[in-house]
């Protein structure tokens, strides 16, 4: 059973603005009955000020779809169209004190209905580019379509890479079988198969994983370098040993009071990008760890 927040239940059992605005001058329709979710948003927009004076929703859908629709109308009433367009699906989810990952698409539907209604008011054509697949990673709410698109766009070959690019599978790992399946499908088109080599094992695939890892680390260094250079410093990779990344800080960074803070910041970036815990260790000119601990 879904554990809905009190706010979701409140707006489902007692929805606000559940109506078709009688003298609406903007209508946004999204979803369809075959998807199991459909939302019509009707707005009364002041032609002078572009302020949304009234908003109503009609929704065919589950509890969280109805609550998300109601939340949307509450969020946008009184805003100008431009202000309203800044409302994201995350704002809708936040208004509801969160939604289960499987239900985040309900908040996306709300955002899209708004875009469609604004386009309708302005006489533009609104096109949906949002395609949704079966939910694969429940920890981070990543669906199959996004995973497949990311694999194709970046020529990914391992589950680990998919986790780095999409976060899918980066937490509980229960969906690794599902990710491997999508990888397998894409790789099969190229006549390849999924590499399941453990990076701890020596061998060609193990080396490849290491090379990819080092490349990722260097990419992060490239990203942070401008900021270090602005302070007259630089960073250089010395060695990678499991979770330990040994670096040499140069120029103003070396021995700088702020070195600790800088290291912490870069370490955080590395940990996020690689999706694993990284310990950044500064070494001196003789490649000996500073501070005597490694």
């Amino acid at each position: 059973m879904w554990e809905y927040s009190e706010k979701v239940k409140e707006l489902f059992f007692d929805p606000k603005n559940a109506k078709a605005v009688a003298d609406a001058n903007a209508v946004g329709d999204v979803g369809s009955i075959s998807c199991g979710d459909a939302l019509r948003l009707t707005l009364k927009v002041n032609p002078e000020t572009e302020v949304i004076e009234d908003a109503g929703f009609q929704t065919f859908g589950c509890g969280s779809a109805i609550a998300s629709s109601s939340a949307l109308t509450e969020l946008i009433k009184g805003k100008t169209l431009d202000q309203a367009l800044k409302v994201t699906n995350q704002d809708i989810a936040d208004y509801l004190d969160g939604l289960p990952p499987e239900k985040m698409h309900c908040s996306v539907m709300g955002q899209e209905a708004l875009q469609a209604a604004v386009a309708n008011y302005r006489g533009e054509e609104w096109r949906d580019d949002h395609e949704e697949g079966a939910l694969v990673c429940k920890c981070f709410a990543v669906d199959a379509v996004l995973i497949e698109q990311t694999i194709r766009a970046n020529n990914l070959e391992t589950v680990e890479q998919v986790s780095h690019y999409t976060k899918a599978g980066g937490s509980c790992a229960a969906c690794h079988e599902g990710i491997e399946e999508i990888l397998g499908k894409v790789l099969a088109e190229k006549g390849q198969s999924v590499s399941v080599a453990d990076s701890a094992e020596p061998g060609a695939t193990g080396n490849r994983a290491l090379i990819q890892r080092v490349q990722t680390i260097l990419k992060v260094f490239d990203d942070v370098r401008p900021q270090l250079k602005a302070d007259g410093g630089d960073i250089e990779l010395v060695e990678v040993r499991e979770e330990k990344v040994f670096v040499r800080l140069e120029g103003a960074c070396s021995g700088c009071q702020m070195a600790g803070a800088t290291l912490g910041w870069v370490q955080q970036r590395l940990t996020e990008t690689l999706g694993e815990f990284i310990r950044l260790i500064p070494v001196n000119g003789d490649n000996q760890p500073l501070g005597g601990r490694a």
């Binding site: 929805p15 369809s32 009955i33 459909a38 939302l39 239900k103």
Partner: protein, 411 residues
Amino acid sequence: MQQQTTVNAPDGIYLDNNATTRVAPAVVQAMLPYFTELFGNPSSMHSFASGVGKAVQQAREQVQALLGAAYDTEIIFTSCGTEADSTAILSALRANPDRNEIITTAVEHPAILALCEQLEKEGYKVHRLPVDGQGRLDLDAYASLLSPRIAVVSVMWANNETGTLFPVEEMARMAHEAGVLFHTDAVQAAGKVAIDLKRSAIDMLSLSGHKLHGPKGIGVLYLRRGTRFRPLLRGGHQERGRRAGTENTAAIAGLGKAAELALKNLQADGARMAALRDRLEAGVLAAVPHAFVTGDPANRLPNTANIAFEYVEGEAILMLLNRAGIAASSGSACTSGSLEPSHVMRAMSIPDTAAHGSTRFSLSRETTAEEIERVIAAVPPIIARLRELSPYWSEGAPVADPQQAFAPVYA
């Protein structure tokens, strides 16, 4: 001081008995000694174990009686219905390595369908028999698929969503004539319809304890004597080496008692539930327009009513029913976490306008006439209210041509 955990049972009307049932008080009583005094391992050679083995044996005979099996040794205790299903199908494949095809149906439980999908990826060929609008199979199509390439046929006895019964006894005979093994998932049927395996050609059958007022975590695989078999779990000699792992003695004793109670009351409970179920359907359909019963009304379990409400979504129905103190379930996409509505509704070609609103009320022998009347009174305003919210509904009726009237950019 002994810690006492008190849990308040939710009040309300429980009509979700195809999901699980309340454990009967007599079943709980039958189980309790095996947690305390009689905790011994039935395999041990001391007095702590004596009596425990006898309890397992007694339960085996009680299940044998419920199923009408010829021999008690045909009953193998497993951890659940799903394990029984997996054991049956994987055993058939391993025991017949020269056969690499399976026949099943499009409306099986995921315990069968997800396994078959996996087997397909491993190179097996799976034939899924389609169903018609009322969930019925075409036996001529089935006959034409039977061949020496088929390792096993697996067809459910009763559908969990609609209650529709499949003619498994006849299908098993047909399989036998073609020299093909036949398995049936009888998780929903066992304890609700009369089963007499010794007079059937069924080789393997799965059941689950918690669907018949027994405990969760216990199932049975019936394996006809002489059927070629390969265990799923190897290890100790439990269940004559056919299912290794220390026996869940308390749950086995409970299942035995539950089987005994189900058999004793089978006819009377069935007739009573069917009458209540018919009253529920008639009462709801009389008050709610644009709703219909799914499945095959002429041939189904006595306890299951599946009503499709058009232009409303099932999860929303369940939430409002729950607030009214009524527990039911739905084939809606939203209740499962997938984006697809129930595969059973799709297989029956139920239109999307109704499939998302399909709602299952499953009764038990505990259901009362008074409860059914309360449900009949509660449902119509809930459906009306959700339809008022829907863009597909206007002034008490569906909008003319809903797909046209509501025209999103994408559909």
